[in-house]
Amino acid sequence: MFKDITIGQYVEGNSFIHKMDARVKILLSLFYIIILFLISSPVAYAVFTAFTLFLVYLSKVPPKFILRGLKPMMYILVFTAVLNLFMTQGSTVLWVCPFWSTLKITKEGLTTAVLMILRLVYLVIGTSVLTLTTSPLMLTDGIEKILKPFEIIKVPSHEIAMMMTIAIRFIPTLSEETEKIMKAQMARGADFESGNVLKRAKAMIPLLVPLFISAFRRADDLAVAMDSRCYHGGKNRTRMKQMKMTVRDLWATLFMVGFAAAVIFIQKLM
């Protein structure tokens, strides 16, 4: 059951976006999301759609990977759409429920619903392009570097990145262990599959206790092993893989800024 968890479903590649600096990519993704929430007119959305498709094309990531990220969003999308469709007040009424006249669809409601769905879909696509083209390690390194200036206000940037690295490293180890414990308990008659939600949740308790104990033991061992290799936090630490910003990143940033200006101009104009 833990096999399905894939954090950072990185797809290896050699595209323009793959080669960009992780820090720039993270910041530009944030920028992308901000623009997405600033616009509301249909024309601006059309331009934004074209831009998003261009990003996907540029990343050379097979579209099915991006669509896979949308699947778990299905219910939220439908829920948001329905809510906006019926709840938005407006002047032009398109349809009124014959049994209950408060339930009606207005033109404004329809537009809001469509734009809302698009906003959520682009949000997922934008962040997927980031995580699909950046290895988890680069991502954590990038986050560490971005958070570095905030150390003045006591943000433990190195510690956050180190915790993320170790968490990613231990996902396969712990999932293997869970499977082992599950099999051992199933061999002795434990039942994880039948019964209602409550019953199944209860069956997980004897699974979680040994898993937690072993995780703590592993953490203890790992701490000693890290100590033995002279780990002493982020101070005076160097990195083998240096992050380098290239002309590529400059172009990407300029392009993004230009695009933002254009979209916001269109938004203001329409």
Binding site: L137, I168, R169, D221, A225, R229, C230, Y231, M240
Partner: protein, 283 residues
Amino acid sequence: MIDIEKLSFSYDDEETHEKKFVIKELDLYIDKGSFVAVLGHNGSGKSTLAKHLNGILLPSGGKVYIAGMDTADEKNTFSIRSTAGMVFQNPDNQIVAAVVEDEVAFAPENLGVPPEEIRRRVDECLEIVNMSEFAKSSPSRLSGGQKQRVAIAGVLAMEPECIILDEPTAMLDPKGRREVMRTIKSLNKSRGMTVVLITHYMDEAAMADRIVVMEKGSVIIDDVPKKVFSEVEKIKEIGLDVPQVTELLFRLRSMGIDMPEDIISVEECEKVILDRLKGLKND
């Protein structure tokens, strides 16, 4: 290289509030470039001894010097840990990074080594343990023996003079054990690295230049393998075994067949037995 003087390590028992000694007044000197195996069964204090060799545990009494540095002096901690690198039992619990080459780079990164130098060391160390082709792999996809070799490379990247291995093969299958032992042996023979191998496998101990047998926190035997294993009765008395070939020849001897006492490797044993059989045929 390693100089231990009257080392004691004790803790207070929670119930009786008595001092319990794990190691008691232990003296041991290990030469540079030697390969020493430390034998003993559970609770003999051998792992505790190992943890004193790079300052993870500090002595309750006595002194431990690594290359002349006192482990109790906090200023020395990092130079001691990079001089005497340590490999642990469970390969899964000592790997920090999600990519092999980043794992090997971890220690030099901590030491503040410049990036180009780290790159050079990582490539070199992976080459030494014969894992270069897996540089970009995830450690979770490797076998136990391969993981342990990556762990060894991770320690070698500090360029230590001495490597301490605390039961490195205890969780491995026979194939993994052979791989790891071959790596350890070549580190000692071709690179002159001082090796301290804590183990409970007699066959592994037999590969060393010197065997130290521990019992209840003290050293009870300290000699070359051939000598140590020739005293089969004494070894068995303290609950340890001898290598299989030594056992075989011991039994032959006790049946009245004249066999030498100092055989510890399969090759030597094979030769001795074949010679005897040929002798019988000629008679």
